[in-house]
């Protein structure tokens, strides 16, 4: 067994492959000037937990990126909870904001303007496909001069197979959304 370093010509044994911890399960390119993106068939019974990354994109306005869980393309619009803690780069002032039974997770990501890569999202979702409460961890919000972290809970015991991203204002363009499944 050569895991975790494979050499050319190695046989990929089941034990080696089953030890791979992270699998790319969905790739979605973001279009130009869209006000929302829904990614279907991202979650399944194959994995309990997921990492979602959107990189290389941009936004038409400096705005947070909402996230909602979807089933068959239809978004769940209730019971989102979350807490944001953020810091001003210029003053170092610490502030907070929250979602309290909101219609979405409000700070899953953020866009800071129209330069390539200036909008992004990087979150972990625990159990979205399971008929249990979905938890959102490790979201980073990167505006122009304010950075923060966000943690959330979706307080419904439903199963979801996808998600929807919507900027608070304006549109988003470009980049790639990649969904990874953490091996159970």
């Amino acid at each position: 067994m050569t895991f975790p370093v494979f050499a050319s010509g190695d046989v990929l044994n089941a034990s080696d492959m089953n030890a791979v911890g992270l699998w790319l399960v969905k790739t979605q390119t973001v279009g130009t000037g869209v006000s929302s993106v829904t990614v279907n068939n991202a979650f399944s019974a194959d994995y309990d937990n997921y990492k979602i990354i959107w990189s290389g994109g941009q936004s038409s306005a400096a705005a947070e990126i909402y996230m909602q869980l979807t089933t068959g393309g239809t978004a769940s619009t209730a019971s989102y909870y979350g807490a944001l803690a953020w810091v001003s780069l210029t003053t170092a002032a610490v502030s907070g904001a929250s979602d309290n039974n909101a219609a979405r997770w409000s700070w899953a990501g953020a866009g800071a303007g129209a330069n390539d890569g200036a909008a992004s999202l990087n979150v972990d979702l625990l159990g979205p496909y399971l008929a249990k409460r979905t938890r959102l961890h490790n979201a980073q919000v990167v505006y122009a001069t304010v950075y923060g972290t966000y943690t959330g809970l979706h307080d419904l015991g439903n199963s979801y197979d996808g998600f929807k991203l919507t900027p608070y204002s304006g549109t988003i363009s470009g980049g790639t959304i990649r969904v990874y499944g953490y091996r159970n």
Binding site: T32, S35, S36, A61, A62, A144
Partner: protein, 37 residues
């Protein structure tokens, strides 16, 4: 008036009236011109 574009997987199209109404209901605005990065 042109409605915003919506993307569902690889499909990009103009929103329907109902979709646009739902977007406005959650407080969405067309937004400002980019200011910085």
């Amino acid at each position: 008036m042109t409605r915003p574009l919506i993307q569902i997987d690889d499909e990009v199209r103009e929103m329907t009236d109902d979709e646009y109404a739902a977007l406005l209901e959650q407080g969405w605005t067309p937004g400002e011109e980019p200011t910085d990065d």
